[in-house]
Each structure stands twice: as C-alpha cells, then as structure tokens.
C-alpha cells in the first residue's frame, strides 16, 4: 500500500487507464441521471437524436461502457497496467451481485420463458450462484468489472434487440400492478449505468482499498446529490404551482388594502387578506387560516415555553441527577416521539368534553402546546447544559444566591439556545395537521376570522373570564390544505387553491426554520469569537 503513491508518480501507462475509466464514470453518471429523470417523467425515451431513438442510443452506450469496463478489468488482471487489486471483491459486493442475478433470473424464467416454478426456481438459483461465483472467485479487478460490465451489456442488448419495446408490459398474476415499459426501462438503464459507473470508479483508482474508496465515494456523492435534488425539486415545484395563485391580484398603493384599526394598508393581497368564502369575495383567500395559525403559534408559545423552560431549569439547576431526572428524560423523549394523531385523540378525550363538547381553538392551542412542550424542554435543557460551570462558580463565589445566579447569569447565557429551540419547535407545530382534525377543525372554508381580542368578557362569577372566539372552531393553514383536498372549493379551481395554500404554508413553516437555523449559526459563531 505504502508504495502506491510512488508508483503512480513514475508510471505513465496508468494515466491512459485512468483517463478511460474516468470517461466511463462521466458517461455512466450521465446515463444514470437521464434515466432517473425519465422515471420522473421529466425526459422521455421517445426522443430521437440524429434519427436514432434514445433507447437505442442508450443500448449502444451501455454495451460500449460495459465492454470498456470489462477490458479495463482484464488489462489490470494481465498486468498491462499498474493496479493494486485485493484478492477478492469481498462478500457485500458479491452478495449484491447475487441478489441482482436472482431477480434477473426469476424475471427471465417466469416472464420471458413463461415457465412455472420448475423453470424459474432453478434459473434464479443458477443466475444468483453464477454471478456470486464470477464476482467472488477471481481477483478483485476481474471480479468487480466483469459482472458489472456483463449486466450493462445484457441491459444494452435487451434495449437494442427490442425485447422491451415502448408497448411492452408485464402483469404479474398476483399483484395489482402492471409494469409498463417507460418505468421499467428507466429503472433498468439507471441501475446498469450505476453499476458500470461504480466499476469504472473502482478501476480509476487502481482497485484495492483506494479503488473501493473511490467507488463508495461516488455512490455516496450521487446519493447526496439525489437527496438534495429531490428536496429542492419539491420546494421548487410547490412554489411553481402555488406562487401564481398566491400572488394573484396584488395591488400596491396608498389605501387600497383592507382597514386595520381604522388605517388602510398600502397593499391589497387578496389570497392572504380575503376570507375563504363569502358573497363579496372575488378571490377566495386564506386569511382565517392564517389568523388561526397565528393564534396557535401565540397560544402554544405562551403555554409551552414557560413550562418547558421551567422544567429545564429544574432538571439542570436544582434536581440531583438520579432516578427522577432519568424518568423525566425518558418521558420527555417519549412525548417527543408520540405520534401527533395520538395527541389529537388525547385532546378529543380530555379537552373537548371540558370545553363545551365542541371543537375549539383553545383545545387546538392546548393540544399543540402539549406537543411543543417536549421540544422546548429538550432544546432548553441542552442550552442550559452548555452554559459553562465556570459562570455558575464565579457567581457563587461572589456570594450570589442560587436563584439570583440562575436569573441573571445562567438564563441570559442560555437564552440564544432557548430561542432557537422555540422557533424550530414552533415551525414544526405550525405545520401540524392531524390533531387539529380531531379537536379544532370547523368549517372547511370559514367566512370570518377568530376575533380573540374582541371577545374577552369579564364577569364576577366563575369562570370570571370567557372568550367565545377561543371556544369556537377555527381553521389553520395546514387544516385549510386538508379541507381543500377533501372538500374542494366549490366552483373555484380547487387544485390551484390547494397549491396556493400549500405555498403559503411552506413559506410560513420554512421561514420559521430558516430564521431559527440562521439565529443558531449566528449565536454559535459569536460564541466562537469570544
């Protein structure tokens, strides 16, 4: 191993070998990306380039790259290039090849040859065993390239020979699904491309441990790329679909908007400022849902933050670490992972009957507050624990009492962590739907907003304070989206309304997250500078 670098320095033959394998890697990644895109319907195999169908083109590319990869392996085996292969490819790789072989064997046996269990069972076993043998018996350079290249060539031949044409389909007897050509061809090309790319990447670093690393890094990089792409595509897709609906009819100018406290806003944004249903409403909006979400956020923060921070202070500053703190910890983590629908059931059984037996905003706030509580507790506890003990010791050395220390030293130092934790928790709460269905939801398209401020009433008999707005059903952004899905917006274009709602919801939730994460990064960098 140690002389690998030296040899690479003096050896010129290797560079051609490396260049060829790097080219195959590039080609393979392209094939894989295109095949994936076609599975998602972004591109199509019907396209023709220079009079040749894309499927045919891919067949040729797969055959060629497969062949090149095999040649690379054989060159290395015959000692024409300097490589450092291991004795075998190892069990995980050969097992993967075996599984692939088994799948291919069973499909060919049961579908193409149309035989019963007597045909496809032996064929499956044969294909699996032979692929394992081909990969595990020879030295690594042959063992990794020949099966990968072979599979690519078989896939290429299947495409070129027209075995799987555009009209091809496979209807397994005992499944509900029919496998149609576009998806199957895309998956096959993608898989074969991936295999060839992996083998070429292994070859480009001269096999051996360095080759394995290069192959593994390639797969991991592709995986990360795919993950980021999918997520970014999701956000972009919702924006694309929803933004035009959400921004429709915006007017900016002095006094065009609705009045708030006697002052007309300088902007009229129908989708955000209109109610969802009413006689004079041209563009149905999501104002009631937005206000519902605002009240939920305010209410849950008022309910859960004092409790969560208080509990975190008690656990870190007062309690002795022992059985009690451990029980609380296990309970908190349990609450954190309790499904939201169970919280909803709990609210329906515990809160709803005690608040007049109807769904109400207050029940929704309390249930979501119960959900926010463990989030605030966990993050606050982390923040308090990360306050250095020197702070406490220094304060105690000055003769300051424990409570004074907590109030003026520990809590201010932990405040950034607590705030970011609360913001991230609120982001999660704002997108929560399931409990609202059970405890808060009312009209799917409300025509008014909850007027919490204006409905406070005081009396001298218990319960002293009443608030009708808190005790009636309300909407919220995620529930609005659900209601749109189940009910439709009447004559209006339901799907566009749904996309608009989804866009606004995404905007609200992701801004909470973005602000929380940015704040945390800012506080951390400040901490490191000090």
């Amino acid at each position: 191993m140690s002389d690998a670098h030296e040899r690479r320095l003096v050896n010129d033959d290797g560079s051609a070998f490396e260049r060829v394998s790097a080219a195959v890697v590039g080609l393979g990644v392209l094939v894989f990306l295109y095949a994936t895109a076609s599975v998602f319907g972004v591109t199509s195999f019907e396209t023709e380039i220079a009079g040749v169908g894309l499927a045919t083109l891919f067949g040729i590319v797969l055959c060629a790259t497969g062949g090149i990869v095999i040649v690379l392996g054989v060159c290395s085996r015959l000692g024409w290039v300097d490589t450092t292969p291991n004795e075998t490819v190892g069990l995980p790789v050969s097992a993967s090849f075996g599984v692939l072989g088994a799948i291919a064997g069973s499909l060919v046996g049961s579908q193409l040859l149309g035989g019963g269990a007597m045909v496809w069972l032996p064929l499956t076993a044969l294909a699996a065993v032979s692929l394992v043998a081909v990969s595990v018996l020879p030295r690594e350079d042959v063992g990794s390239t020949v099966p990968a290249g072979g599979i690519a060539i078989v896939a290429g031949v299947v495409l070129l020979g027209g075995v799987v044409g555009p009209e091809w389909e496979w209807n397994p007897a005992n499944l509900e699904a029919t496998f149609h050509a576009p998806l199957v061809v895309g998956a096959m090309i993608g898989l074969a491309g991936l295999l060839v790319t992996w083998a070429a990447a292994t070859a480009s670093a001269g096999f051996g441990s360095r080759g394995r690393q290069s192959g593994a890094y390639l797969l991991m990089g592709l995986n990360a790329l795919a993950m980021v792409t999918i997520m970014a595509a999701l956000v972009a897709f919702v924006t694309l679909k929803g933004a035009s609906k959400a921004f429709a009819g915006i007017e900016i100018g002095l006094g065009v908007g609705p009045e708030i406290v006697g002052l007309a806003l300088p902007i009229d944004w129908p989708f955000v400022m209109n109610v969802s249903q009413g006689i004079y409403v041209d563009i149905p909006g999501v104002l009631p849902a937005i206000m519902g979400t605002v009240w939920i956020v305010v209410g849950t923060v008022l309910f859960a933050v004092p409790l969560g921070v208080g509990a975190a202070v008690f656990l870190t500053e007062y309690a002795e670490q022992g059985r009690f703190t451990r029980i609380v910890e296990v309970t908190t983590n349990g609450l954190w992972s309790t499904p939201s629908i169970v919280f909803g059931l709990f609210g329906a059984a515990f809160l709803v009957p005690r608040f007049g037996n109807t769904n109400s905003l207050l029940s929704g706030i309390l249930v979501l507050g119960f959900m926010l509580l463990p989030l605030v507790l966990i993050t606050s506890r982390e923040a308090l624990q990360s306050v250095p003990d020197e702070y406490r010791d220094a304060s105690a050395a000055l003769g300051v009492s424990r409570w004074q220390t907590i109030r003026s030293v520990v809590l201010p130092a932990a405040l950034p962590g607590v705030i970011t934790g609360v913001i991230l928790g609120v982001g999660r709460i704002a997108g929560e739907t399931a409990p609202l269905l059970l405890v808060m939801a009312g009209s799917p398209f409300p025509s008014d907003t909850p007027g919490v401020f204006s409905s406070f009433e005081f009396s001298t008999t218990p319960p002293f304070v009443t608030n009708d707005a808190l005790l009636t059903a309300a909407s919220a952004l995620p529930y609005q989206l659900y209601a749109t899905i189940t009910a439709g917006v009447g004559a209006q274009d339901a799907e566009a309304f749904g996309w608009g709602t989804a866009f606004v919801l995404l905007l609200v939730v992701l801004s909470f997250y973005a602000v929380g994460i940015a704040l945390r990064a800012y506080f951390r960098s400040k901490l490191h500078h000090e």
Binding site: N223, L307, V342, L373, F464, P478, Y513, I517
Partner: protein, 360 residues
C-alpha cells in the same frame, strides 16, 4: 431501606428548615392547584376559582420569597411533563377499553375474516388491515430512509468538504420542516396519478401503499440524516486519526472504525425514522383510499388499504359510540408501539455514550 430513610429525613429537615410563611403559602398553592386539577377533571366551574387562588398565592410568594417560589414553579413545570404523559396514557387507554371488551383483544388485533370493519348493524372492528398497512408502509419507508439516510449522514459528516457541509447541514434541517400535509398533497396530486398511468404501474385506483411508503421514506430522510450525522460526528477524532495513521484509507476508517463506534447512534437514528414512519398521519390519510381491507395477497404494496394513523384521521369526523372507541384502540396500539421504539432507541443511545465514554 436506609436510602428511603435518609431521603425522608432530608425532606423533613428541609421542611422544618423552611420558614412558616413559605410553608403556609406553599401548601395553600398546592391545595389550590390540586383543586383546580380535580375540578377541571370533573368539569366543574369551580376550576376558575382555584386557578385564581393559585395565581394569587404564587403572586404573593413571588413577592415575598422569590427564590423559593421560582424553585417550586420549576418543579411544577417538571411535574407537568410527567402529568401530560400520564393523562395521555389514562385517557387514550380508557377510551379504547370498550372496543377491547367488545371485540376481545385477539380479535381486535388479528381478526382477518371478511368483513373486518363494520360500523353499522352488527358492529365489527378489526385493526388487522391497518396494522398490516402500517407494517408495509413502515418497511418501505425504512428501506428508503435507512440506507440512504445513513449514507447521506456519512457523506455530510466525513466526505463532504467543509463549504459543502456548511450548505448541506442547515439545508437538510430546513427540509425536515416541510409539513407532512404538503408531502401528502404532492403525493396525491403528482404521485398517485403517475402510478395509475400507463407509463408506470397502471394501478386501477388512486392511492397505494407504495406511494405512501415512498413519500414517508423521503419525509423521514432528513430526520435520519441529522440524527445519524450527530452520532457519526460524535466519534472521537483520535480514533479516526489512529486508523489513518496506520495507513488505512478514509473509507476503511469509516467502515472499520467510525461506523462500528457510532453503530448505536446510527441505529437509534434509524429507529427514530421508524417511529416517524409509524406515526406519520397526514401523508397516509391523503394518499391512501383508506379502505379497511387487507391487501391481497398480503404483501401487495400496490394495493390500497389503510394505516393505523390514517384510519383515525379519516374516520374520526363521522364516528360515534363504539366506532370512536375502536379508533381509540387504534391510537392505543400506535402509542404503545411508538413508545416501545422510543424507549429502545434511548437505551441504545445511552449504551453508546457509555461505551464511547465521550463527554456529554
């Protein structure tokens, strides 16, 4: 015995050590709070009186003995988390009990003869379809989120250059925040028609466990990545350096040193993903047709069935009587499952911290 004794004496000493004003105020506050809780439970309007009394006493205590009042309030906040858990257990189980009594625990979970779910006439509630649906959905989701999530975490923490990591880490965390209903809407409007079209599977109806499994798997991915990434980056640098100094490649170090050392943390991350997949409600409710039949054959992921969560969410609105109890039974099964997963993953995590001996 001596342990409890010393504890009792300590408590007694701390009580006798406290001055009388604080003692009286504390006990009045405790009585008020207890009264408020009990009267809230029985639904009495006296609740408000007790709450006002409690607030008055606390206000006085804050004015007179701030330090003690703060400690007491912090203790109450701690108790409130335990209380929440206790209330959830009591209320969900209590509401589930009539359904368990009606069906019998075995039939409730395992009855597979047709029909399995009848809300009118001779009522029949078997959770078997929902349990099978949840199992298949979770299995599919974990097959996606597990390996890809762990590979992603390894990439973010060990392979990616620092500028890329600075983008990827917060990016993945933000994506964990996409609300599940948005995922559900995407699945409903995009994935369902695609799976039903003649370029993919040509499914007869909209909605399949495969679609739900895919969507939930992608949803759980960011969670698995962040938690597994935390576990991987908590492996002490000295262990990796030692391996690299012996001439091992970075990949060999990852598979031979880092992954085994972080194994508990990684499995806790995957378990957390399992928990999320089991408890995921909205995506399943929106995408699935929520028919209460077993898939035929039972492993047919292309079939349209229901999950425990979507059963509750889709039927609670128009359920009454025993039907509601049956839905609570589904919730109880869900709760017990997720709680078991949570406790196991916490145990694994604690063991990892012990074996690694890392600072906490």
């Amino acid at each position: 015995m001596s342990f409890t004794n010393s504890k009792t004496t300590r408590i007694v000493r701390s009580i006798t050590g406290t001055d009388r004003v604080a003692l009286v105020a504390g006990s009045v506050a405790a009585v008020c709070l207890l009264g408020a809780f009990v009267s809230f439970l029985v639904g009495s309007s006296l609740t408000a009186v007790f709450v006002v009394g409690f607030l008055l006493v606390v206000g006085y205590g804050w004015y007179a003995r701030q330090a003690l009042a703060a400690k007491g309030l912090a203790f109450l906040a701690t108790v409130s988390t335990l209380l929440t858990m206790g209330l959830i257990i009591v209320f969900v189980l209590r509401e589930a009990l009539p359904a368990v009594r009606y069906m019998g625990p075995i039939d409730l979970l395992l009855l597979t003869g047709e029909p399995m779910w009848r809300t009118g006439g001779e009522q029949l509630y078997s959770l078997a379809p929902a349990i099978v649906g949840t199992l298949i959905e979770t299995l599919l989701a974990v097959m996606i989120a597990g390996p890809l999530g762990v590979a992603g975490a390894l990439f973010v923490s060990e392979v990616a250059p620092s500028w890329l990591r600075a983008i990827l880490k917060p990016g993945i965390e933000i994506l964990a925040g996409i609300p599940s209903i948005v995922f559900g809407y995407l699945g409903l409007v995009v994935l369902n028609p695609y799976f039903a079209s003649s370029s993919a599977f040509g499914l007869p109806g909209l909605g399949s466990l495969l679609a739900v499994g895919l969507v939930v798997g992608v949803m759980a991915l960011p969670t698995v990545v962040s938690v597994a990434e935390d576990a991987i980056s908590s492996v002490p640098e000295s262990m990796k350096q030692g391996s690299l100094a012996l001439g091992a490649t970075e990949w060999q170090t990852m598979t031979g040193i880092t992954m085994p050392a972080a194994f508990s943390g990684i499995s806790a991350a995957v378990l957390l993903g399992v928990g999320r997949a089991v408890g995921e409600t909205m995506a399943a409710t929106v995408i699935l047709g929520n028919v209460t039949d077993l898939p035929t054959p039972i492993f047919d992921a292309f079939d349209n069935t229901t999950t425990l969560t979507s059963l509750i969410a889709s039927q609670y609105g128009n359920a009454s009587g025993l039907h509601v109890n049956a839905l609570f039974a589904a919730g109880a099964v869900l709760f017990v499952t997720v709680m078991a997963i949570s406790v196991v993953s916490q145990y694994i995590e604690r063991r990892m911290l012990r074996t690694l001996g890392g600072e906490r």
